[in-house]
Assembly symmetry: C2
Homo-oligomer: 202 residues x 2
């Protein structure tokens, strides 16, 4: 599995610094709603209740380091959601339906304008290879986690991988449509568009 944890707060090896966590959570929330470039440093520090010095103490490169850490943190929530939905599921399709329902609920809770926490943070930032590669790693980790569940639930390896990628694409595209329509039902219904097994017509 792609390692998505390198930029996230240490989970158990040491006591997490509350300021660092507050910075990450505030950044994830702000970037998701206003984008990387739309979020000012002063606004970020105010939301985290953190002095400027502590930002650079924890994130030497400031906002761009924080973007990597915040998107990893948000991605970890997505991985947890994927696992929680698929772990008790009787089939891949049933687990996928639960993912859709959980995401739709999250969408409603977040006020119907939030973007994908990874793309809103890393795509909206400066074009650089660190951001692009990190976004690629995080997305691949969602696809890999989904594919593992698909395989565990009976799909052959290649089909599991294709179904996971198709599901990721539907979630990303569906989230955008839900966002402009302010309608979480778009997300709730995405599992009905899943293609299993993939057609090989190309």
């Amino acid at each position: 599995m792609t390692d998505v944890t390198t930029a996230s707060p240490p989970a158990s090896s040491q006591a997490p610094a509350p300021t660092r966590d507050r910075l990450i959570r505030a950044a994830a929330e702000l970037f998701r709603n206003k984008g990387y470039n739309g979020t000012g440093l002063a606004e970020l520090l105010a939301a985290a209740g953190a002095p400027k010095g502590s930002l650079y103490h924890h994130f030497p490169n400031g906002k761009s380091d924080l973007a990597l850490a915040a998107s990893t943190w948000a991605s970890d929530q997505m991985l947890a959601l994927i696992d929680a939905a698929f772990a008790p599921a009787p089939s891949f399709r049933a687990g996928a339906k639960t993912v859709c329902y959980k995401l739709a609920k999250l969408f409603d809770k977040q006020g119907k304008w939030s973007g994908c926490p990874v793309s809103a943070t890393l795509f909206a930032g400066p074009e650089n290879n660190a951001f692009r590669q990190h976004a690629a790693d995080l997305f691949e980790s969602w696809i890999a986690a989904t594919a593992r569940h698909a395989q565990r639930l009976g799909l052959p390896q290649e089909e599991a991988r294709a179904a996971a990628e198709n599901f990721y694409i539907l979630l990303q595209g569906g989230w955008q449509l839900a966002r402009v329509r302010r309608d979480s039902d778009v997300i709730r219904a995405l599992h009905t568009q899943m293609q299993m097994p993939p057609q090989k017509t190309d």
Copy 2:
């Protein structure tokens, strides 16, 4: 059909003002690559070769008016691409495949980092209802145009609508994956994931 042309340059009723067109094209290009908030006014004027006064002459509210016009202009290109792909197609699936190939070619030409010109412009901007509604109208116009072709090519009305929406979602989600992977083949293969007819399992 949703009218997507109100904010675009007049096509034939009068001679278009070159400065206005240059501003729109430069804005569409910059917003797509750097996002709304990532694009500075000075950079925009320099790219368009336009003085500041002409920006406010053509777009009284400045950058936000320009965002609406630029996303409309870019959306019109997408509508033209949809029509060009489907018009000669023997089937909806064949037309959709051509859309994927044309978009993949565009993706390669644009340097593999460009975002969707509508979402990169209107989602990355300030949260306001004008931007959200405009994005909704533009996306709906793509779906409506696709659905008309689907119906003309033999799909019943409801299936045509569902197939068009599914295709839109695949294109949006697939473009994001192609972007992080820098791989236009993701887009080229999207038509193989189309679901026709839609399953009603919900």
